[in-house]
């Protein structure tokens, strides 16, 4: 199958004040078009760093990373941050339209696309609000809409729901699943929550060790819609948990 993301031997070392921190080494990962892949791993293992490399915010020190997209879109990859990171001085609709600026669309077209993206996450009626007027869950939906508005082929998500209360989180998980099924986007979803990974993804990749690398890579073939806390998954969850605790 054709892969959108191809990572070969990725290594990344931070250097600061003469101190070197090797975060990733020899990471191989290939992600087919349309897949929903979860990356799990303990805090500090390099999950965010991996996404930052994929979107071009950080540079690999070794290996190759290629993102092959079909469209000539200005922005084939979009990132949803853990904290919503809305720009507080922009109304919701203009936050969502951020990535469309510089795309040649008129302001009216940009706003129309932004409202469309807000509709997908169910928040079209809040388009005129300021970010401070939103709840945490709504903010994260807006952040998702901002990423969707650029119509990326690949959606990178960095622990997007981890700061939310359980009810908002479960609502957003189901919404994300629906959006994925409707749009066929490739999703790379980083989380430290194994249950979340197993509930959402087709495939779970575990990053572990220092420097981090992929220690297991499992396909989940449960049918959808899935059930939370499906006992059929408990063996897999235990297995993943074991690998995170004792990489190798």
């Amino acid at each position: 199958m054709e892969s959108v993301i191809d990572i070969r031997g990725l290594g990344l070392t931070f250097e600061r004040d003469g101190r070197r921190t090797e975060v990733l080494r020899g990471l191989d990962l290939s992600i087919p078009r349309g897949a929903f892949v979860a990356i799990v791993g303990a805090s500090g293992v390099g999950k965010s760093t991996l996404l930052r490399v994929l979107i071009g915010l950080a540079k690999a020190s070794a290996g190759q990373v290629s993102v092959t997209t079909r469209s000539a879109a200005r922005q084939p990859v979009a990132l949803v941050f853990q904290d919503s990171r809305l720009l507080p001085w922009r109304r919701v609709v203009d936050n969502v339209a951020l990535g469309l600026e510089g795309s040649g669309l008129s302001k009216i077209e940009r706003r129309a696309r932004a409202v469309e993206a807000l509709r997908v996450v169910g928040l079209a009626e809040l388009a005129g609000r300021w970010p401070y007027q939103l709840s945490g869950g709504q903010r994260q939906r807006v952040s998702l809409a901002r990423a969707l508005a650029v119509e990326p082929e690949v959606l990178l998500m960095d622990e997007p729901f981890s700061a939310l209360d359980a009810i908002s989180r479960e609502g957003l998980q189901d919404e994300l699943t629906r959006i994925w099924r409707e749009t066929g986007k490739t999703i790379l979803f980083v989380t430290h929550d194994i249950e979340e990974a197993v509930y959402l993804a087709d495939r779970v990749v575990v990053l572990a060790g220092a420097p981090g690398r992929a220690v297991i890579d499992r396909t989940i073939d449960a049918s959808r819609p899935r059930h939370r806390d499906d006992p059929a998954h408990s063996a897999l969850i235990a297995d993943i948990r074991g690998h995170i605790a004792r990489p190798g």
Partner: protein
């Protein structure tokens, strides 16, 4: 017990108590002002001070009327406001520009740091000799002095505000493809630094007002100059007219600024 005597007003809700409190403080403020005016009137009226040295408040409206009628008041006000406005705009624009540039660029910051350390402690008014040598005793000299005073305040405010911009928000701009300096400037740095820049501008508004008066005392036409003229004729009532005019104009400008600031920062919780 003392505690049992603290009479709480149980019939009043918290909000009506707050309203009473606000009314009370307005009342006290008015009473204080009235007392001030009474004492002011009493001091020359009782002969404690020669009325030539200190005119009472009742003498002021007449003096004000005569200044209006002679056209001097309007001329002085428009003169001062034009030095003030032009100096403020030039000083603030340069201050924002240099502050933002040195805030965004480490090289620019390092390059200017020693020059800033050298020039910054020089008070705006210490530029008066050069202002007069370069521009003569003209409105341009006043504009120059005002612009210098405003520049430093706004420069430091803008520099600090830009340095303090949240890296996370810059990353958002980069993640959405805005990686060039001017894109980050417009999308993130300027709006994020706006609250800090406005704080500096408001301080500058007051500082510039002082600089106006000071520059005009050197002879540039305007409120300060008219005041000095009046004092040389011992027309102390006219001096007071201009002192009050300065207070009133500043109050109006500051209120207008606050309205604009509240609108610009309406996105803040």
């Amino acid at each position: 017990m003392a505690l049992t005597q603290t009479a709480d007003l149980p019939a009043l809700s918290a909000s009506s108590r707050a309203r009473l409190g606000a009314l009370g403080s307005i009342g006290l403020g008015a009473a204080g002002l009235l007392a001030f005016l009474l004492i002011w009137q009493a001091v020359p009226a009782l002969g404690l001070v020669n009325p030539m040295m200190l005119p009472g408040p009742l003498a002021i409206p007449t003096a004000f009327r005569s200044e209006i009628d002679s056209g001097m008041w309007l001329k002085a006000v428009t003169g001062s406001l034009s030095h003030y406005g032009i100096g403020l705009v030039i000083g603030a624009a340069l201050g924002v520009a240099v502050g933002v540039l040195t805030g965004m660029s480490r090289v620019a910051e390092d390059l200017t740091s020693w020059v800033v350390r050298l020039l910054r402690p020089i008070p705006g008014l210490a530029w008066a000799p050069f202002a007069i040598i370069w521009f003569g005793v003209t409105p341009k000299a006043a504009v120059f002095i005002i612009a210098v005073s405003v520049f430093w305040i706004v420069f430091f405010a803008a520099h600090g505000a830009v340095r303090g911009v949240d890296r996370d928000l810059l990353e958002v701009a980069e993640a959405f493809g805005f990686r060039r300096a001017h894109e980050k400037l417009l999308k993130i740095y300027l709006p994020a630094a706006m609250p800090g820049i406005l704080v500096g501008l408001r301080t500058a508004l007051g500082q510039a007002w002082m600089a106006v008066v000071a520059a005009e005392i050197f002879g540039v036409p305007g409120l300060g100059n008219r005041m000095i003229e009046a004092s040389s004729l011992l027309a102390t009532d006219i001096v007071v007219v201009y002192m009050l005019t300065m207070a009133a104009l500043y109050g109006i400008l500051d209120s207008l600024f606050l309205v604009a600031q509240n609108w610009l920062l309406r996105w803040k919780a």
